[in-house]
Amino acid sequence: MKNWFKRTNLLWLALIVSTYVILNVLISTGIINNVYQTVLLTIGINIILAISLNLIIGITGQFSLGHAGFMIIGAYSCGVVLKLVAGGTIGVLLGMLIGMAISAAVALVVAIPTLRLRGDYLAIATLGFGEIIRIVVLNMEVTNGAAGLILPKAVSWHMVYWAMVICTLVIVNFGISAHGRACISVREDEIAAEAMGINTTQYKILAFVIGAMIASVAGALYAGAFYVIKPEMFTYSKSIDILVLVVFGGMGSITGSFISTVLVSLLNTALQQFSSVRMIVYGLALVVIMVFRPSGLLGRKEFSFDALLKKFDKKKGAAS
């Protein structure tokens, strides 16, 4: 049995709770006003998207460009439930579950033929698939076509925060499990992985399906938080936005995805007033990062309390 109350786990818990409390205090005292609350929501949702794509691209090494497709599924499942079945938190949760189920089924159907492809072929296939989903949504009755859905606000930042925490825990723990290690071995060397008896196709599909389900959670949160969803919000350029977050932070590093999402969101907000130069500065920042840190901000490194404590202990040891 693992020890759930290790020093590092407690530290993580403390970090999660204290961040939550601090944000809460900042919001209730008005230091984080409504505008910044929206930024906060965006950051939370984008983090979920980035880490879910990171599971597919960074950890398992399968280049997918169809992530917005799964976000649509989540967004519209939640949207339709909020409109037709139930409102409020219950509606969001129900929509989320339905979205996850549909995403999982769709991901499975997409994964089985496409994950035989590699590299750029897979990227093109998944890109096409993302567009197919969008076109389907665009032409359905219940989704109200191109006009989209106008929804009541049903998601608060509390929900986004805890959803983000849960999704992160799921992905991080998957990544360090034996299954996660098998996924990494597929990324590292598919032939060697197969020679070790790993069913490489099965792990690619597993990672793809989990990633898709988590992306649809982000979609559901988005629908509940931002009043309006339209198919045009989820084109392939949305998939690329998510990809940028992953590459920028470092493929394979969940910590990196967190940092890059926060930085990019803050940069976007700061540049909002200079909308004419916004994309130029944003693009330039990406070019600079890729030139100086081609494997992203963190590469494949993760922040860990274990390493930090060890450093700390060493320093103490050296001082005494």
Binding site: R181, I184, S185, D189, I191, A192, E194, A195, M196, G197
Partner: protein
């Protein structure tokens, strides 16, 4: 222990193996030598289930492997050390070894075997937590072999273990292969370094353009004029 009967493999239109038959008996070291493109690696891949065979049969321990997947072949006791080592560069040495034991469930046995691997390759023990990609070529070869041993194979397939290594390291690797064999693992060895391979092999097969053209004991082949001319440089 292993019988390959009339095995043919195609890559699209190209026939890589033409009705190859060979046999490996328990406890032996069998070498498979031949030039580039002779089909040696393809034969190993076919035995491991990594390529599809178009004809023929492979029998291991009285069971046909014709319908077996790569996974079930590993669990039946055949492990391959692939050409070019193919370790997982961004995993630590210890994680690489654990990947080798991927299909095993006995935690205690895995732990013991890990210690055994560290004893056999002390350099891996020193570098346990280091990323495998940062190891030298020789160390990577040792890691690849250690990783394969973690699966507890009855038959170990080695593909070009001497590739890209200094003569001194080649010697070391070959003496380790002999040792592994002495401790009860049967070895099928693919090599371009025919001289070294024939020295340690009980028996050997020579392949040319997808066919087996000669076979015999290691000594016989090492003494044969044809082999001397073609592979041993006079």
């Amino acid at each position: 222990m292993l019988q390959v009967k009339d095995l043919s493999v195609h890559y699209g239109m190209i026939q890589a193996l033409r009705q190859v038959s060979l046999e490996v008996n328990e406890g032996e070291i069998v070498a498979l030598i031949g030039a580039n493109g002779a089909g040696k690696t393809t034969l190993l891949h076919a035995i491991s289930g990594l390529v599809k065979k178009s004809e023929g049969e492979i029998i291991f321990l009285e069971n046909s492997l014709n319908k077996a997947t790569a996974r079930s072949i590993v669990s039946s006791g055949i492990t391959q050390v692939p050409e070019g080592r193919r370790i997982f560069p961004d995993m630590s040495v210890a994680e690489n070894l654990l990947m080798g034991a991927y299909l095993r469930k006995d935690k205690k046995g895995i732990e013991e075997d890990m210690q055994k691997v560290y004893e056999r390759f002390p350099r891996l023990n020193e570098r346990k937590k280091q990323l495998a990609g940062t190891l030298s070529g020789g160390e990577q070869q040792m890691l690849a072999m250690g990783r394969a041993l973690m699966a507890k194979p009855k038959l170990l397939l080695l593909d070009e273990p001497s590739m890209g290594l200094s003569p001194l390291l080649v010697k070391e690797i070959f003496s380790i292969i002999t040792e592994i064999n002495k401790q009860g693992t049967t070895v099928l060895l693919v090599e371009q370094n025919a001289r070294m391979a024939l020295q340690i092999a009980d028996r050997a097969y020579v392949m040319e353009t997808g066919k087996i053209v000669l076979s015999g004991t290691g000594e016989e082949l090492a003494a044969s004029d044809e082999i001397k001319k073609a592979y041993l440089g006079g």
